[in-house]
Every structure is written in structure tokens, then in C-alpha cells.
């Protein structure tokens, strides 16, 4: 059977619509399954399509079972001992039968327990769905919800005006807030304001299209693209591609109409970043460019209505933008009256973050820390780095960045070039903010990259020091993004440094020395690194490679690559080796629990041939392995040595009992295993690998 379900409300925030739909669809799918209504046929699922506009959230599910199948359910009750006495059912048994809704005669004993088979009648979809749908309306997790009128209890993103629900055309009763469902919907707020009968599942999209609502997100988004391209062509250009803006605008209209508008050519003197921010940020206009990507003095606005005369609204769009661009021009002219260098001093009057001093103190720390990173990595030009660090936050005092915070860095670069600052330094001022998000590009040069790492380390160390680390989903200072920035830039550019040393240097600049604090930052970084690397490797490999003691990100990455390579190349052999090492790890851990503290290994103490063989083999590969690990970072060679050792290790376990009653023997064997374990420890923490037991 087909379900049509629509919640009609006042205009929902654009960013709420898709997440709400995803949740609703998943929830309906789950609840249908729970109610055994998920499919008409065996092993199928109802097909759920989702639709949203600013004024509605809708689900259409096809292939719902008309009625859930009856099932037999086995309930288990008290133990037989309590349920029967002298062959008769006790009070406990009677109580159980009553609760299950059966006669005592239906009870049986199975595996020393009383059980009963219950016949559960399947519910008809039409009976179950109203409850399911109410659960869905009440449960949508909006980022912010509100109450309205005098209503108590129910909250929604914006006031709800109608709910329409029907199963194969038959209305379903659904109640929420002060709304009772009716099989009616509404068209476009202005173009088709009246009520219309709720269309069937098949006709829903087409019927709403007729009522001036493009209810399908993808269709609407496509139409906007076409409209915007058409209008931009009218203005003699093409729209500047902007997927985020397209997504937002799709959430702002039910039926799109694009209108091209123009602004004075003189405004093109403003940096393109500024023009684009002015257009897209508040106004949600698309910028228009020529084929070479140069901005034209034009824009495209997307209207929700086909107005009588587009020239009227065009005039409106242009006026608003003109006022904004005049403001922008004013800021640009004012800002350039003072060089960036002269603004640095002003940073002394701005608090960076409560408890972390002024912005001036911050750039002084950044200067030192980026020079420290230069020293540690040997990358970048120290003179450029120092200058970029000093200037990198100066644009925060400009009017333009005050108005458009997202232009920080971009304005710094523009103003620096305007002051005649060396281009590499100006570029670093911009690039130290990269990447600004998961999709953003990384810095192209060392100066911006190192300064960016310093900036983020300073922020993390500072905030962790104040106890303001992220908790749960709350991350008000963007520390997850900062951590990810450090990791991505360091890995991509291959910077080698010891993170603990870097954190120590950052702490020192904050006037602190706190090993526990560094450990917390490191664990946080490690957590993000795990997430980052999990895209490329199995989760347990990532775990095993990262917990190998090193605080050099590149070394950790190399260890992971080697581990993955070996694991994939010779799976079976590797699994066996890893299992043996897990076993060794377990033995050592248990020994430690029992507070056994083996001293150094002594070869002359060895009695058994298998033990002697292992000791000899270990000795033989020791130099080779530690050389491969420490100097050459040739992890594959170390894995090869490890594989060669395996027969000897296997033999050892076959023939030797580690936990010998003779304490001297036992301790000596533990010491042997420990030095074996320690030798290969930099490869991986084998205890974290999920492998089959060795046979």
C-alpha cells in the first residue's frame, strides 16, 4: 500500500529541511520494520521517498504491507522449580499465564523453564500508521525548536499548520499540537494559496508542481541552476559555481524564478572576495563572471514568486546590494589608509580569548612557535615566517573583516600586497587559515602551512590549559577542526617533528609546563587522526599503528602503510604472526598483573633447545631489525624479519612452558619474550589487531 504524509508549516530554516527528511525516512523505515509492515513481499522493504520545501516536509512510502503477518512468540517465565509443585502449577505460574493472557493449561516446561507460545495478531497498516506518524512528527530532532500560541508540550522548528496523511487514498488520523490531519495540502504561499486534495503517491509531485511547488529537492535545485544560468546569460556571463549557495537557495523557495541585476562598474575595484561575500553572504545572490572567471558587474537573485514586473524587484535587489557595496567600498578605502604593520599594535587592545591574553600576545607566540617549527622541520624561510606571523592577525582590526569575518586572511593578503609586502608573506597570511573546512584546499607553501600549524597548536594548548576542551558534541571553539587542520597539513607536507616537543614549546609560550595537559591534547589529536586514517585503512590497523609510542605523525603514517601492505599481501601468514604476538602480549600482561618482574634475559640459563633457538634467532635479527626501524624506517624489512622468526616462535610455544614452576626459569623465559616483544613494538600494537587465533 502507498502512504502519503506531509507536514505543512510556516517557513522552515533552509538548513533544517534535509536533515529532518533523512531522520524521518530512517525512522519510518525502522518503525515499519518493527511493526512488520515494511513490505508487501518477502524480504523487501517499503520504498521511501522524501520531499521538502520551506513550507513542508513529506514522505511517500510505497509497498507497505496492508496487514502485519500474525506471528507466534515464545515467552519464557519462571523456573520450573518454582512453577510446579507436586505436578501442579503454582501461584507464580498462574501469574505468568495471566500476564501472557493465556490459560495455565497452555504452559509447558522447556529446559527447566516455563514457556508459553503466544499468538500475536498482526496489526493492519491503517491501524498502526497513525501512531507511527505521530511518533515521527514529535521526534524530529531539529537544531532548535519552538513553542507557539498557548500550546503546551509539542514543539517544532516553526508553527505547524497542516498535516496530511493517507494510505491508498484513505485518510489517516494524526494529531500534533492543535492540528488534526486532513487529506488536504496547500500549494505555493502566493501563487496557489488555497487548499487542494492530497494527491495520491503517484500524483503527488505532479499535482504540487501544478500548484506552483517543486516539491522534489533535486528537481528544484536543477531548476534553480537552469534559471540562474539563463539569467546570467542575459547579463552576458555565467554564474560563479557555488554549491553551498545553491543548496541554501533551494531551501528558500518553492518555485524559483531568477532575476539578473547589475551594479556600478566602479565597485569592481573591490577585491573579488569582498564582492562575492557581499552578494552571497547576506543577499544569497549568485555572482556572475565571464568565461575567464573574471567577475562582471552583475548578479542573479532567485525569487520565490513570478512577479508581475521583474524590473520592480530587480530595482529592489540592486538597491540593497548598492547600499552594501557602498559600505564595503567605505571600509576598503578607510582600511587602506593605515598599513597592516601599523595595525599590529592595535591588537594589544583586543582580547584573543578570555584567559589567553590579547591578540598581540597571540601573534608574538605564533612568531616564536612557527620559528620553532621551522627549526624542528627545517622547512620554510625564517624571515618570511616571522613577518607573516606578525602580520597574520592584523586584518582583524579592519572594518572589512569586522563586517565580514569570513574574509579574515583574504583581506590580510589584499591589504599586505597593497602595502608592498613581499608576495610570499602576503600569501602566507591568507594560507595559514587553510583548510577552513573538510573540502577546502591546503596551503601551497611552507610559510602558510607552518604558521597555520602554529596557530592551531597555540589555540589547542591554550584552551586545553583552561579546561575548555570539547565535550560530547559541543565544540564551541572549533578544536576538532583545528586538530584536523594540524593533521592534514602535517601529513600532506610531510613535516617531521615530535608532537610532544611541539606541544611543550606551545605550552612554554603560554607560560606553562604540564605533561598531563600535553597528554590530553595528544590523545585528542590521536582520536582525530584515527578518524582521518580510517578512511584509508581498516579500523584495527589504524589503532594498532597509532599506538606504537611515536609522536611523529609521519612515522605513524608510515607504520600504518606498512602494516596495511603486509596485511593485504600475505594475509594468512600475517594473521598467524600477529596472533602469536598477541599471545606474547597477553602472557606479558598477565605476568605484570601477577607482579612478576623478570630481570634481564640470560642465555646460559636456557635449558630447552626451542628456547635456545628463539634466543639465538632473536639475537641474530636484532641488529637488522632495530636498524631497519630506527634509521631507515624500513618497516617492511622489519616485518620480513618478523615473518622469518615465526617458525621459531611457534616451536617455542609448542615445546616450552613459560610459566615454569621454577621461578628462575619462568622469569628468564618472560624476559626473553619481553625483549622479543619490545624489539617489534614500533611496528604495531598487535594487541589491538583483530585476527583469527593461530592454529
Amino acid at each position: 500500500m502507498d502512504l502519503v504524509f506531509e507536514i505543512g508549516s510556516e517557513e522552515l530554516p533552509a538548513s533544517f529541511q534535509k536533515p529532518a527528511l533523512e531522520w524521518m525516512a530512517a525512522e519510518l523505515d525502522k518503525l515499519l520494520l518493527d511493526h512488520r509492515l515494511a513490505s508487501e513481499g518477502e524480504g523487501q522493504r517499503a520504498d521511501i521517498a522524501t520531499y521538502a520545501t520551506p513550507r513542508r516536509l513529506a514522505l511517500i512510502a510505497t509497498g507497505i504491507a496492508a496487514k502485519a503477518p500474525d506471528i507466534r512468540k515464545k515467552l519464557s517465565g519462571p523456573p520450573a522449580k518454582q512453577a510446579q509443585q507436586d505436578g501442579r502449577w503454582t501461584k507464580a505460574a498462574e501469574g505468568f499465564a495471566r500476564k501472557a493472557g493465556v490459560e495455565v493449561s497452555a504452559l509447558r516446561v522447556e529446559n527447566d523453564r516455563v514457556v508459553v507460545e503466544q499468538h500475536v495478531k498482526g496489526q493492519a497498516a491503517a491501524e498502526a500508521l497513525p501512531g507511527i506518524l505521530e511518533e515521527i512528527v514529535r521526534g524530529i530532532p531539529f537544531r532548535k525548536s519552538m513553542r507557539w500560541d498557548s500550546l503546551e508540550g509539542d514543539a517544532f522548528a516553526r508553527p505547524v499548520h497542516w498535516i496530511a496523511a493517507a494510505l491508498d487514498g484513505k485518510p489517516l488520523p494524526v494529531k500534533f499540537a492543535d492540528v488534526e490531519s486532513a487529506p488536504r495540502t496547500r500549494g505555493h504561499r502566493f501563487a496557489a494559496p488555497g487548499e487542494i486534495p492530497l494527491p495520491s503517491a503517484k500524483e503527488y509531485v505532479a499535482a504540487l508542481r501544478k500548484a506552483h511547488v517543486l516539491v522534489d529537492w533535486a528537481e528544484r535545485s536543477r531548476r534553480i541552476s537552469e534559471e540562474v544560468a539563463r539569467a546570467a546569460a542575459e547579463a552576458g556571463g555565467v554564474p560563479r559555481p557555488d554549491a553551498d549557495l545553491l543548496e541554501t537557495v533551494t531551501g528558500l523557495v518553492e518555485e524559483p524564478f531568477a532575476v539578473a541585476g547589475y551594479f556600478d562598474k566602479d565597485f569592481l575595484q573591490l577585491p573579488p572576495e569582498v564582492l562575492i561575500s557581499e552578494m552571497r553572504g547576506h543577499q544569497k545572490y549568485f555572482a556572475v563572471q565571464d568565461v575567464r572567471g573574471e567577475l562582471l558587474p552583475a548578479f542573479v537573485a532567485v525569487s520565490n514568486t513570478r512577479v508581475r514586473d521583474p524590473a520592480v524587484s530587480r530595482k529592489g535587489y540592486e538597491r540593497v546590494l548598492r547600499a552594501r557595496l557602498s559600505d564595503g567600498k567605505f571600509f576598503f578605502d578607510e582600511d587602506r589608509k593605515q598599513p597592516l604593520r601599523a595595525r599590529v599594535e592595535k591588537l594589544g587592545r583586543r582580547t584573543f580569548l578570555q584567559g589567553l591574553g590579547t591578540e598581540l600576545a597571540r601573534v608574538q607566540r605564533l612568531r616564536e612557535l612557527s620559528l620553532w617549527l621551522h627549526g624542528a622541520t627545517g622547512k620554510g624561510d625564517p624571515r618570511q615566517l616571522a613577518e607573516a606571523a606578525e602580520l597574520c592577525k592584523a586584518d582583524l582590526t579592519t572594518g572589512m573583516v569586522g563586517e565580514f569575518p569570513e574574509l579574515q586572511g583574504a583581506m590580510g593578503r589584499v591589504y599586505a600586497l597593497n602595502d608592498g609586502v613581499e608576495p610570499a608573506v602576503a600569501e602566507a597570511i591568507f594560507e595559514h587559515y587553510l583548510p577552513r573546512g573538510a573540502e577546502d584546499r591546503l596551503p601551497s607553501e611552507d610559510a602558510g602551512a607552518l604558521l597555520g600549524i602554529a596557530d592551531r597548536l597555540d589555540l589547542m594548548v591554550g584552551l586545553f590549559g583552561l579546561g575548555k576542551e570539547p565535550s560530547g558534541t559541543a565544540d564551541p571553539y572549533g578544536l576538532r577542526r583545528a586538530a584536523l587542520g594540524i593533521l592534514r597539513v602535517t601529513l600532506a607536507r610531510g613535516y617531521r617533528f615530535d608532537m610532544d616537543e611541539a606541544l611543550r614549546a606551545a605550552q612554554k609560550l603560554h607560560g606553562k609546563e604540564d605533561g598531563k595537559g600535553r597528554e590530553r591534547v595528544w590523545q585528542f589529536l590521536l582520536g582525530r587522526l584515527e578518524v582521518l586514517l580510517r578512511e584509508k585503512a581498516q579500523a584495527d590497523s589504524v589503532q594498532a599503528a597509532l599506538h606504537t609510542g611515536s609522536r611523529d605523525l609521519i612515522a605513524l603514517q608510515k607504520r600504518l602503510v606498512a602494516l596495511q601492505t603486509v596485511r593485504e599481501k600475505s594475509r594468512a601468514q600475517f594473521e598467524a604472526t600477529a596472533a602469536a604476538f598477541k599471545r606474547i602480549g597477553n602472557i606479558l600482561a598477565q605476568a605484570q598483573e601477577k607482579k612478576l618482574a623478570p630481570l634481564g634475559f640470560s642465555a646460559p640459563l636456557c635449558r630447552m633447545p626451542a628456547e635456545q633457538a628463539l634466543a639465538a634467532a632473536l639475537e641474530e635479527s636484532r641488529t637488522r631489525v632495530s636498524g631497519a626501524l630506527a634509521d631507515k624506517e624500513d618497516y617492511l624489512a622489519a616485518y620480513a624479519a618478523l615473518a622469518e622468526l615465526r617458525p621459531v616462535v611457534d616451536r617455542f610455544f609448542d615445546e616450552v612452558m613459560v610459566m615454569d614452576p621454577d621461578a628462575r626459569q619462568r622469569d628468564n623465559r618472560l624476559a626473553l619474550l619481553r625483549s622479543l616483544h619490545e624489539l617489534f613494538a614500533p611496528l604495531a600494537d598487535f594487541s589491538r589487531l583483530q585476527v583469527e587465533k593461530s592454529s
Binding site: 510556516e10 492543535d178 529592489g316 557602498s326
Partner: protein
């Protein structure tokens, strides 16, 4: 209906529209406020269960926005048209769109849009959800469903409509400079402009807020106003107390414009005003509750609502209903 031709025609059109819909027409408050929301006809009246529909023009002072009469878009004092509908009616959006029609802004000719914009006033401990309403890309109204005020949950919820009058007038009159707005036309056809009425005020007030004000004196005044507010709260006089809370808020705005408050101190001052606003709100609610919410016609409902404010009546710490 045609578009109002001058600034006061716009006010008149809105006044008669909302008067017809049962709003009490009131006046802007006679103390300095930064927005119509701070007028007790909004801030205090949205508290508690008593219904309230009101509309008024609020001259709103923002000392930091002063531009010496030289900026075509920014003013030290602009005018808001403020409407409160409590409880928020089911058709409030339609009523609002009707008001735009009454001033000549129709959906046939303009792109009208409700775009998400949540509102929050840290100094008033108030927040709400709603939209900024766009007419051809220009924000003409802030539309808010009040969820909290003075730290108290709003039950019922009020709808607040705040029209930016100068902006709308500029749009309707097709001028790019605020000062070119026609305020009204004399019988002989001469026009009184916004410049004639307000330019000197803009100049002098900007001069005052940015240069002439005495920061030390303002700081002392802030302290004194705060003391007065507290003393009046002690004496159980919420309305006079709230006046001094407004005085504090304005003194703070002046100090802020003067650059006399550092970033770190800023937060502390905001908190001090918020505490006063909360105390006034608490006392106002307690006082209305003691009077058994007299303007609630449904007495049975009034009794029921009283239970919600029980804690306030017992003279406890005033935490009842805080969100």
C-alpha cells in the same frame, strides 16, 4: 491601497491597519531605549498569561550607529514600528502580509520571503525564533516568536513584529539617502524632509556619544542607576525599577560607543544589566500573580496559571519558570 507617499503616511497606514485588528495603539516609551522590545509594553507585558495586543512607534537609540548625519543608511536614532500579539494568532503571517499590502507592498509585485533569523537579547535575557522578512532582498521586518524574556519561559508565546520604518520608507519613496525622505507635505506643497527634522539631532548626538560624553560620569551614573533599580526592587516597585534598568542599558550603550569599556569588561556590564532585567521581570510577574492576573478574562484559567507562579508568590528566590 496605494503606497503611503510620505514617512508619516507610512506610520498612519500601519497604525490604522493594526488598530483595526484590535491592537492598543500606544506611544514609544519616554526613556531612551535601543529597540521597541525594551519598552515595558513589550518586555514586561509578554511575561505571564495575560493577553496583550499592542502597536507603537519606538524611536530607538543606538549610540554606536551614529554617523554624524553623513551616512545615507545609518542613524543614531531610527524608528521601529512594534507590534505584539499575545498569544501569537494562528494566522499571524497572513495578518502581517496584510499589513505590507496596506503600505503598498504586495506579493504580486514583490519577492516576499521569510528567511530564518533567530533573535536574542543578552541584556534582556530574551530570545525567540522567527525570520527576517525580505522584500526584494531587503530586510523589512524582524518577525519573532518570543520563547523567553527576562529568563522566564513565555507562556503563552507572543509574536513580535518589528518594522524598520526608515528602510521601508526609503524603499517606498525610492530614495537612496535617508535624509531625502519626505516626512510630510505642507498644504502649500513644500516638503518637510527627514533632514529638516532629524539631521541636527544626528550630528549632535553623534558628537555627544563619540566625543563629548564624560566616561567617568557615565560610569558613575551606571552605578547609581543600578543602585536605584535594586532599591526599587527591594521596595517591590517593578515598573519604576525597570525604568532604571533601561537607564543602565542606555548608559552602557553610551560607554560602549565611547570605547570606554574593554572587551573583557563588556561581558560583565551586559551581565549586570541582565540581572536587573531578570529581577524586574521576576517582581513584575509576582506582582501580576498577586493580583491574580486581572486582565485574564477566563478566571478558571487564571487560577490554573497561578499555580505555575506559586514559587514567586511565596517570596522565594524567584527561580520559578526559569528556563
Amino acid at each position: 491601497m496605494g503606497a503611503p507617499r510620505d514617512f508619516q503616511g507610512l506610520l498612519l497606514a500601519l497604525q490604522s491597519y493594526w488598530a483595526e485588528r484590535g491592537c492598543a495603539l500606544m506611544q514609544g516609551y519616554d526613556l531612551e531605549v535601543g529597540a521597541g522590545t525594551m519598552n515595558p509594553a513589550t518586555f514586561l507585558k509578554v511575561l505571564g498569561p495575560e493577553p496583550w495586543n499592542v502597536a507603537y512607534v519606538e524611536p530607538s537609540r543606538r549610540p554606536a550607529d551614529g554617523r554624524f548625519g553623513e551616512n545615507p543608511n545609518r542613524l543614531h536614532q531610527h524608528h521601529q514600528y512594534q507590534v505584539i500579539l499575545k498569544p501569537s494568532p494562528k494566522d499571524v503571517q497572513e495578518q502581517y502580509l496584510g499589513s505590507l499590502r496596506a503600505i503598498g507592498i504586495t506579493s504580486e509585485d514583490h519577492d516576499l520571503r521569510f528567511v530564518e533569523d533567530d533573535w536574542e537579547s543578552p541584556t534582556l535575557g530574551a530570545w525567540g525564533l522567527g525570520w527576517e522578512v525580505w522584500c526584494d532582498g531587503m530586510e523589512v521586518t524582524q518577525f519573532t516568536y518570543f520563547q523567553q524574556a527576562g529568563g522566564f519561559e513565555c507562556r503563552p508565546v507572543s509574536a513580535e513584529l518589528t518594522y524598520g520604518l526608515e528602510r521601508i520608507a526609503m524603499y517606498l519613496q525610492g530614495v537612496d539617502d535617508i535624509y531625502d525622505l519626505v516626512f510630510c507635505t505642507y498644504p502649500d506643497g513644500t516638503r518637510l524632509t527627514y533632514r529638516d527634522v532629524f539631521w541636527q539631532n544626528e550630528r549632535e548626538q553623534s558628537e555627544y556619544s563619540f566625543h563629548a560624553s564624560d566616561a567617568d560620569r557615565l560610569l558613575r551614573l551606571f552605578d547609581e542607576y543600578e543602585k536605584e533599580c535594586r532599591a526599587l526592587v527591594e521596595k517591590k516597585l517593578p515598573l519604576p525599577a525597570y525604568d532604571y534598568c533601561l537607564k543602565c542599558s542606555h548608559a552602557f550603550n553610551l560607554l560602549d560607543a565611547r570605547g570606554a569599556i574593554s572587551v573583557t569588561e563588556r561581558q560583565a556590564y551586559i551581565l549586570r544589566v541582565r540581572r536587573l532585567a531578570h529581577d524586574c521581570a521576576t517582581l513584575y510577574l509576582a506582582t501580576r500573580a498577586r493580583m491574580k492576573f486581572p486582565s485574564l478574562k477566563d478566571r478558571a484559567l487564571a487560577e490554573k496559571e497561578l499555580a505555575r507562579y506559586h514559587d514567586l508568590l511565596d517570596g522565594k528566590d524567584g527561580k520559578a519558570g526559569r528556563g
